[in-house]
Subunit: 100 residues, 3 copies
């Protein structure tokens, strides 16, 4: 199974999380308040953001990535895929049922 | 090695984290305040919760999963296993010593 | 690609995150406020800390690990490596450019 890590500006977090679940591209999205330090155009910046852990399935991954690109305000958003080596069976079944 | 991702209702987080460490099923548990949006019985809900990152070992994983199922108030809890590709050796040794 | 998970005392988080990005060992560092319960010298402790998710590359990993060991106040810091199975191509390119 697949968990997708996405960082978003704080004011876009609710909308992106809710849209992904409503459109059945994710069964669940956990939101974390974070502070990010990063290099952009060769200068170091620090901003408050929100990290999303998006619980989806292998089957839904590509469509989810496309949809995040649509919804995200940045040209180069952080979209990273991590695979679980095991998920509690009943929880895995629920993730399958809740996504397309 | 193994890190286990579990989400719990806020009022159960301290108890579950402390029990897992006291019973040597985990060397350490990091707790994150989160907001979750998820689909349940075909409706979309949003709740505040806590995410646990449970630092354990391959050997202790099955017993840990069973114990979380005992302690968790939900029938279908989020229990997901992620494997590190590398852990600082001294920290890995400590994780082995601190768990059964 | 590689994301490195590090936990640090709260008062060291800004300095370590900024140094890793300034020295091009990381493209970005996301900081999470956390509470940790852990076993140390056979007693269970609970402290507030900060978790760092350090976005780097395979090439920079060893040097990054060494630098965290320099900067970190603990003798046995939590330094764990997780590999993404996929990263959005444009974001992966940016991570390569922003690190040595």
């Amino acid at each position: 199974m697949t968990t997708v890590y996405v960082t978003v500006p704080t004011d876009h977090a609710d909308d992106i999380a809710t849209t992904l679940v409503e459109e059945r591209l994710a069964a669940c999205v956990n939101r974390f308040p974070i502070t990010s330090t990063y290099r952009w155009e060769d200068e170091v910046h620090t901003d408050d953001e929100v990290a999303l852990l998006v619980k989806t399935t292998d089957k839904a991954y590509r469509e989810l990535e496309e949809r995040v690109l649509d919804l995200h305000p940045h040209d180069v958003p952080c979209i990273e895929r991590f695979n679980e080596s095991h998920v509690l069976e009943a929880f895995a079944d629920w993730r399958e049922e809740a996504t397309t």
